[in-house]
Subunit: 340 residues, 2 copies
């Protein structure tokens, strides 16, 4: 990757050496944690590093150091993901297969608390991994900032937070959501609602935007229930809310299959027939989709391929290749089963 | 841990130094990958290491080296686990919380192919992790052998393969299976079958043993369908097989909740009422259990606690404490819902 235009010129080891009044070789030995460096030199180098704002360039350091031959898979929001989203497993396995064939060890790191954030920062800084694949980072994610600072080889699954110019592999959530909503509309449904989830993440916000786009002038904000997670329980809450606001609702786009499964369980309990009385569609085509009754009409996203291509992006950077900064979008398709 | 009785005395650095005809300090520098060692010395040391069969003692090395402050969570059979078993997420999160609070980075390593096995061997050997938690290792697992050879701090979730005397945290699968089978029998069912899964793993084999024990003289081998995985699809196959062999079957113990969910889907499709015509019970009390229709009667296992206690066991070893070699068993309980 070339530096983005207008980005401040990075300080170099030479800058550190000049400020510290110490040879470049000694600075390098301090940075690499080698023995046989005097404490005085170490102190002077660390002081100079802070003064000039030096951030080690991992790629350059890897040329002189032994690489770790490991790539991290960083997983945010593990509770919601592990317990509700079977896609996470497919993404991990897809990434692992590619990294494994290239001789890299994939190490999955879970980010579940503030403690985790701080410690993973140190882990990344310490050279334990050569690159990182990041799953579902939220806005203002400090780990993302660190990855950018370190200029570490990286790839995001889904859009990077805060529109940072970092490599990513994603599906077009907005387009896919618009497609399945249009299909619901074309089937003759007139009171189409949505259970919108995780609006703090691009995937969640974009699915709502696509829904709104497809309905155009027939979009009714009161037919959107907003829930926090892509989860079964959120689907239950969202469906109840929609039924209360509009008892005659005849179609629901649930933001994920797990959400749709929760919605179906509410409809089943109150005796509302699916799809006769009300149509329900999901998003993901995860294992959920084929196990609900009726099976879900949904958007298929290539989860394993998302992981595989994110791994390829990281490997390309580690080989020093230029990569497309615009990100890679993978195709989705609509799978029409019996729930709509 | 004290070495097991009768175990061959380990070769030491001193043995390597003697055979190589080089000072102990130089051998140590070679082992620690330090610079300023001549190529001749490096070659001689590596030759001597092979000759005396020296395996580095991680605990001893960690005393002189900076520890990695990382603990691996090694996950075998990722396909079956990630895509079907929601317990895996709870185990990971339970372990991560404990390790995180102790200042350790948990790194999850997926073992999905021969390539993975070889590379993870190098990763373990290379000092990248101080200890390992192992999930669902099968018989004759080479990684387990390596962990034992390295005398690495470790804990297995479930029994270690081949009855190796390694630390573990488990539930008593046999006892729990016997309890839920006895409860089925006490409810008046007379033709009780089982869908037995993963018989190559202790958890799978023990659940079948418990089922057999509880039925005693009324155990009928033809009412046991054996399937490969703890999965939904295996449940479908197993249920079909049982119905074919014994159309009047009136109760089924499925080896996991996912298996039970698959069995329920078959019964629903053919119009067999649950629990009126046939009772179905599962094992795990995973999210599956509350989302099937009817909700599953099942065995609750404390998944998050299994992960947490495995992490505690590893930390205790890293602190140099003696630990109970007999393993730790956690309690299970029966949760009776509507499917039986």
């Amino acid at each position: 990757m070339t530096p983005s235009p207008g980005r401040k010129k990075r300080s170099t080891i030479l800058d550190v050496a000049t400020v510290a009044g110490i040879s470049r070789g000694t600075v390098s030995r301090v940075l690499n944690g080698e023995p046989y460096v005097s404490d005085e030199a170490r102190v002077a180098v660390n002081k100079a590093i802070k003064e000039v704002g030096y951030v080690p360039n991992m790629a350059a350091r890897n040329l002189v150091r032994q690489r770790s031959q490991a790539v991290g898979l960083l997983i945010h929001e593990p509770h919601a993901l592990f317990l509700e989203d079977p896609n996470i497993g497919s993404i991990m396995l897809g990434a692992n297969t590619v990294l494994s064939q290239a001789g890299y060890q994939m190490v999955c790191l879970i980010i579940d608390s503030e403690l985790d954030v701080n410690r993973i920062g140190q882990y990344l800084n310490g050279g334990s991994i050569d690159g990182a694949i990041v799953i579902s980072a939220g806005e203002n994610d400090p780990i993302t900032e660190l990855i950018e600072q370190l200029a570490m080889a990286s790839a995001f699954v889904g859009l990077p937070p805060n529109h940072r110019p970092l490599p990513f592999v994603s599906i077009d959530n907005k387009k896919a959501a618009a497609e399945i909503t249009a299909r619901l509309k074309a089937s003759g449904r007139t009171q189409i609602g949505m259970i919108a989830s995780a609006l703090g993440r691009a995937a969640g916000a974009d699915r709502l935007a696509g829904f709104e786009d497809a309905l155009g002038s027939s979009y009714r904000p009161e037919l959107v229930a907003m829930v926090e997670h892509f989860s079964f329980d959120a689907g239950i809450a969202g469906m109840r809310e929609l039924l209360e606001r509009c008892p005659t609702i005849d179609a629901v786009f649930a933001a994920s299959d797990a959400v749709a499964a929760g919605a179906l369980s509410v409809l089943q309990r109150i005796g509302r027939r699916v799809p006769e009385d009300i149509a329900v569609v999901g998003f993901d085509d995860s294992v959920w989709a084929q196990r609900t009754n009726p099976p879900l009409s949904t958007v298929r996203q290539p989860a394993s391929e998302l992981g595989a291509q994110a791994a390829e992006l990281v490997l390309a950077q580690l080989r020093g290749e230029e990569i497309n900064r615009g990100g890679v979008y993978l195709e989705t398709s609509i799978v029409w089963r019996d729930s709509a």
